[in-house]
Symmetry: C2
Subunit: 454 residues, 2 copies
């Protein structure tokens, strides 16, 4: 009997997790992974740190090389783009790309398919967006292009457009590289996933890096010089000189192949899957940034590019396609980042999201410390906690503060996932010793204030 | 009508929390706090850092002075020892101590009483235990005595007896003060609250401080020179020269007054209270280190000296004696400390405790990192996770590792308090970004191994 053939489209963490789990559980399966870029199994979250020079070589970002996968019997076809999925014939069409040229193409049959096509940066339809010196950053390959440009072209002034995590991290990376950086955002605050009361502290942190921050301005176009190189960013209100531009306008699910194949799409055209990561087709699974996820607090479908969820759903797809029955409960929208020495974290719903989800919510904000007041090196920490009016059910939290502040969000993560109320949070036996915390953790003070209706 | 009179015995965090809450909720109450030492409202957990020279002045350890309490209308009688409680007459007997002399004594009436007598160090009944240079450390006053002795007597060699938190913290404090320190423990491991597999890493950390560690030796006596000063520690197997000795043999509930007054005692003679912090007498409440607590995992009564629980139960007593109805759910035995740069944390049950409580348990131990592998400064982290066989219910965890390791115990704290199983922990949407965590947090890897029965 012929071997069962698994094809995985996409060699990022989700795709490689699926392949690795499938291999682990089924030694007979013939596994082929198609990856558009030259790299598989890389840590895309590490790209800004690579650009900043904190990570010396891009090879450090690669968890495992194609050769290592080959040894496990996973065939990796890097620089191979899948151009179509035929669900009737059960084949994928692919082409091999070398220096932008197609050097090979064909069809590849599958019995089981995993779609792990990830996400891709949103690129606005404006003049000059394809000019030299304009970058968006979605994968290691693009990260490498930016690093090369900085080294070879010595840009002096950079404009980063977009104030999400990628925009902030790229701003810091380029400041560290010695560039004069302006961060531009459309909203009146940075990071729309935070409430304005917390975001304002993050803006301050970006300014303290030495970057200029321009808020409330809409990107309208990019001026290009005669050699085709970007020279100015035009917004609704300013003209910002720029030797390079990084677009951090968010990402969206890379679901074109799935859509063309006729698969059902959901929120923001992400691929609809059941909790087992199966699409509506028996032998077609999807995982990673391209799929729709369940939001644990709202109970509604959602979409987000979440590295941990990509890993988890890839693993689940790989297990289930080999006969297991594990499910994924969904996400909370947890995220964490760092701006200079300032740590930022969030989970669950912010005020706008709570409103949109129809919750009657209340919020308190507590200023506290990361260690005991008298312990040397203690840093400030501000926690904002949201709960449902009446029931006291926890809805979300945001933290901004010094070293040790951000990881405290995990306390709220577990509380949200367990469905705890502020009354239960108030009594948590959280760890305390002077080098680690004040006697009353901020989350306990905040929960207490919400419980008392203060 | 005469004012209702509240007497609080003990001016530590529990007593002062009770007094402050009562004042906040009832402006008419006449409140008097009797405190044996000269200090109230101090952070006893800060004493080792004060001794180490990390906290410059002992006044930094004092959250609020008697004068500040007086302004709130809380009468503070520092250096006043309560010698008896008369529950029929509803009075306490007290005496004022100055330089060891009684300068005043009398009786004080109450309508409502809060007993917050705390804990006191266990002092063994061995020869030489009262010699000059022999200390135990239970309160700020005793901490100050040790600091003065180090400054005035220039001891060169110290022996610390007892390998719990206090013993370890005192060892480090004295090493930092430039002393040659030997840490002696009766058990074959340090910190009996940890499983041996984790404790061994803590022992290594103590040795890396430059201290000598002697395990498996029982304290038999202290040799004293002709001037009444300690000169040698005699154990079952060694004679250890010592210019000073610190006894860190644990603490026990300071319940003598309650016992003499006829109140019901529980585990280790701690004062039995209901979840509202009330004793079996209508108007007699107790809070802090002197009371029996409920263990959330075993569901059984327990006792421990826990700073956060002392604060919480004091607050609850103060609220309830003024008409509120709040309860305290109990503790998990969470604790955290630092040995040099090594962080140590634990919560819930260790293997011995799980065994004693009758659980069929399993444990896994995972070596991981505090940050992404490629992020500069990432530190090692070892997590040991215990769960009930079959149900997968989480029972406890222990962590040892570099900076950022210990506070991760709080994730397990919330999971334990919410009664989560390893299956639920596996899917937690914990925060991730390269400066803060690897993609797979250790607790998720450990939960997964337990879930898979690996």
């Amino acid at each position: 009997m012929a071997k069962r053939r698994l094809v995985v489209i996409g060699g990022d963490a989700a795709g490689m997790s699926a392949a690795a789990q499938a291999r682990r559980r089924d030694a007979e399966l013939e596994i082929t992974v198609f990856e558009r870029t030259p790299y598989v199994s890389y840590a895309s979250c590490g790209i800004p740190y690579y650009l900043a020079g904190l990570v010396e070589s891009k090879t450090e970002l690669i968890a495992r090389t194609p050769e290592e996968f080959e040894k496990q019997g996973i065939q990796v076809r890097a620089s191979h783009e899948v151009t179509a999925i035929d669900l009737e014939e059960m084949t994928v069409s692919y082409r091999r790309l070398q220096d932008g040229q197609t050097t090979d193409e064909g069809r590849w049959p599958f019995d089981v398919l995993v779609i792990a096509t990830g996400s891709r940066p949103v690129v606005p339809n404006i003049p000059g967006v394809n000019a030299t010196g304009v970058f968006s950053v979605g994968n290691l390959y693009e990260g490498e292009m930016i690093a090369r440009y900085v080294v070879s072209e010595h840009p002096r002034r950079a404009v980063v457009v977009g104030t999400g995590y990628v925009g902030l991290e790229m701003t810091e990376a380029l400041v560290r590289r010695g560039l004069e950086v302006t961060l531009v955002g459309r909203s009146q605050q940075v990071m729309s996933t935070l409430d304005p009361e917390i975001a304002v502290k993050v803006t301050e942190a970006v300014r303290n890096l030495g970057a200029r921050v321009v808020l409330g301005e809409h990107l309208q176009g990019l001026e290009v010089d005669s050699s085709g190189r970007v020279r100015e960013v035009v917004t609704s209100n300013s003209r910002l000189p720029a030797d390079m531009v990084v677009l951090g306008l968010g990402v969206r699910p890379n679901s074109d192949l799935a859509k063309a194949a006729g698969l059902r799409l959901g929120v923001r055209e992400s691929i609809a899957v059941d909790p087992y990561m199966r699409t509506e087709f028996e032998n077609v699974w999807a995982a990673g940034d391209c799929i729709q996820l369940h939001h644990i607090v709202t109970g509604r479908p959602t979409w987000g590019s979440v590295a941990t969820a990509a890993n988890k759903t890839g693993r689940i797809a790989g297990r289930n396609l080999t006969g297991d029955h594990v499910t994924f409960p969904g996400i909370l929208g947890t995220a964490v980042t760092k701006v200079g020495e300032v740590e930022v974290a969030r989970t669950g719903l912010n005020a706008r999201e709570a409103e949109e989800a129809g919750f009657r919510w209340r919020a308190v904000q507590v200023d506290s410390l990361t260690q005991s007041r008298y312990y040397p090196g203690t840093a400030s920490l501000t926690l904002r906690l949201l709960a449902e009016e009446g029931s006291g059910r926890l809805l979300g939290a945001q933290i901004v503060g010094g070293q040790g502040a951000a990881k405290r969000i995990d306390t709220v993560v577990v509380a949200l996932q367990a469905g705890l109320s502020v009354h239960e949070v108030e009594d948590l036996d959280l760890s305390y010793a002077p080098p680690f915390a004040p006697v009353w953790e901020a989350v306990i003070l905040a929960a207490r204030q919400l419980a008392e209706g203060a």
